[in-house]
């Protein structure tokens, strides 16, 4: 056993367990012009508290996943949200970590509880994005993309790199050169799966009735990624109530436990050697850390469901490989074999994923945690997957070049 595993097992025994006691979601939408960010946050906080059967009096503190001040048109927006939720005076913590923001916030909330500092923490992600505009043509998406573009290294990427599907697409292209996969058809199939899943999800932004041809024939964003294989910007909020084991019994529902959590912040992809081309080491490392902590050794067999960050569909396929659902280069085959279909042996993105269900950094990571919680509770309605082992995975990735990643393993008691 490695030192890391040994430590993980040793501390697993003594460490207090942290559970999900409540979830609160609203649908992703291109824009919620009828609500401020405080109002969006209120809606999901109220839902999560109700789901847990508690009130704000029971909440000892909050952790907020809010990526961008500029999209909010407000710095320190977390304190305004905290007050609006009726939590004034209590601890709050705001995390920012690209499109892994909400998952990094989940790690911080986990630590807040496992350390003994708190027993009941509200974890909440909220993000506006549709208030931006390109004044030259009144295009909101262009205003948002320009605002977000300074996530790229301003000196070394930004001048030549439009946005993630281009910067991150370097890895996908390298993967295709290195392994011969995924094919453009496999990329479209993975997207089609997610678009179909979204049609069953009341929280999904897009409910398009697409064919494989529609996806293949849609506009190319950055080759090989087409428009329907790529997420857009949305506004949304999502919340969870996290609790320590000793208060979990007082909640309205049986908890789903956070069995493992791993994060990894990698360098911007500029390596000279070829080892990391076509790979996403941050996803791999975060997954390994979460699996070690949770005691997962054969994820393909031990997981019932996974939500991964399909910022574009090639990234979902590469994530299969990094997360050990298959060997490197085999991700495309998983799609062809239907393994990750909603009714397959290991459904991935039954929510519809970022491509179809919706995406905005800070929220979609917590949204995914809510989705896996609902799946493990078997409360997912039409999109429910089969729960056999009682374990699910959330994997997220963001940053300058898919270099900021997190993974969480959730599990229910037998």
């Amino acid at each position: 056993m490695s030192t890391a595993q040994h430590r993980a097992n040793a501390s697993k025994a003594s460490r207090p367990r942290v559970g999900v006691a409540g979830v609160g979601q609203i649908p992703f939408r291109t824009r919620y012009p009828e609500h401020t960010f405080q109002e969006l946050a209120f809606e999901v906080a109220r839902a999560a508290l109700r789901d847990a059967g508690i009130t704000t009096d029971d909440v000892q503190g909050a952790v907020y996943g809010i990526y961008s001040d500029l999209l909010m048109r407000q710095q320190s927006s977390d304190s305004l949200v905290h007050d609006y939720l009726g939590l004034r005076g209590k601890p709050a913590l705001r995390i920012s970590a690209g499109a892994s923001t909400g998952a990094f916030a989940a790690r911080a909330a986990y630590a807040e509880i496992a350390s003994g500092l708190s027993d009941v923490v509200l974890l909440l992600g909220v993000q506006k994005s549709g208030d931006l505009i390109n004044p030259e043509n009144q295009h909101r998406g262009e205003g948002t993309m320009m605002s977000e573009s300074i996530t790229h290294d301003v000196n070394w990427q930004h001048p030549v790199t439009p946005f993630p599907p281009a910067a991150w697409g370097l890895s996908l292209n390298a993967h295709m050169e290195r392994y011969g996969t995924p094919t453009v058809e496999q990329l479209a199939k993975a997207a089609l799966k997610n678009h179909r899943n979204a049609r069953l999800n009341p929280y999904a932004q897009l409910k398009l009735d697409l064919t494989l041809e529609d996806i293949l024939n849609s506009r190319i964003i950055a080759w090989p990624t087409t428009m329907y294989e790529c997420c857009g910007f949305a506004e949304c909020a999502a919340a969870m109530v996290l609790v320590s084991e000793r208060v979990a019994g007082r909640m309205a529902k049986r908890p789903v436990w956070i069995a493992g959590v791993g994060t990894s912040v990698e360098a911007v992809l500029q390596d000279g050697d070829g080892e990391n081309y076509g790979r996403v080491p941050a996803i791999r490392r975060s997954g390994e850390a979460a699996y070690t902590m949770a005691g997962v050794t054969k994820p393909r067999e031990e997981l019932d469901v996974a939500e991964v960050h399909d910022i574009f569909s090639g990234l979902e396929i590469m994530a299969y490989e990094e997360l050990g659902l298959c060997a490197p280069g085999e991700g495309g085959r998983l799609v062809d074999e239907g393994v990750t279909e909603r009714t397959g042996p290991l459904p991935v993105n039954p929510s519809g994923g970022r491509i179809a269900c919706g995406h905005i950094a800070g929220v979609s990571e917590i949204f995914s945690l809510c989705e896996v919680t609902r799946q493990l509770r078997e409360e997912a309605g039409e999109r429910q997957v089969a729960i056999r082992r009682g374990r699910g995975l959330v994997s997220t990735v963001g940053g300058q070049s898919a270099n900021i990643a997190a993974a969480l393993v959730l599990e229910r008691d037998a």
Binding site: M146, S149, P162, L269, G272
Partner: protein
């Protein structure tokens, strides 16, 4: 969620102006601008050659020294950009579509993001392993876009 009637919109702008310093990286951008020369830093301890340069070595915390780099290099990865929002500065000096690549300058341990100009942008035009050379623009501003790459044979 309920909508309480129509909503009111208002205009605003958040504008930040900078005259920023390149700090310890100044020699790189100055060499680009003034000499049309690509430079990097070599670690005195472990021989890593950093480009993007670093004043200290992230691998071993050793001191680094500036060195001129070759203008030839090798493509490690490329992607083909078809869509760029209309408000990107990139449109000022680049037609769409274009090829974005990671290029490892000869002698460097790392790669730079930059554009590879090819006569015709078709998928596969810039494979990994392709040899390229830097072309410097006449008007240089001390930015990464002061140069781009072209296939070595061209």
């Amino acid at each position: 969620m309920t909508t309480r009637g129509g909503y009111l919109e208002a205009e605003d702008a958040i504008v930040n102006h900078y005259v920023y310093s390149h700090g310890g990286l100044s020699p790189f951008f100055r060499a680009l601008k003034e000499r049309g020369q690509l430079t990097g830093t070599r670690c005195a301890e472990c021989d890593t050659v950093w480009c993007p340069p670093r004043t200290h070595c992230s691998r071993c915390y050793g001191e680094t020294q500036w060195t001129d780099l070759s203008h030839e290099g090798t493509v490690r990865a490329a992607t083909y950009c078809y869509y760029v929002p209309s408000n990107y500065k990139l449109h000022e000096y680049q037609e769409m579509p274009y090829v974005l690549a990671l290029v490892q300058p000869d002698g460097a341990s790392t790669c730079l993001y930059n554009i590879v100009h090819v006569p015709k942008v078709v998928v596969g035009a810039v494979p990994a392993g392709m040899r390229v050379r830097a072309v410097f623009r006449e008007r240089r501003e001390g930015r990464l876009t002061d140069f781009y790459y072209v296939p070595l044979e061209s």
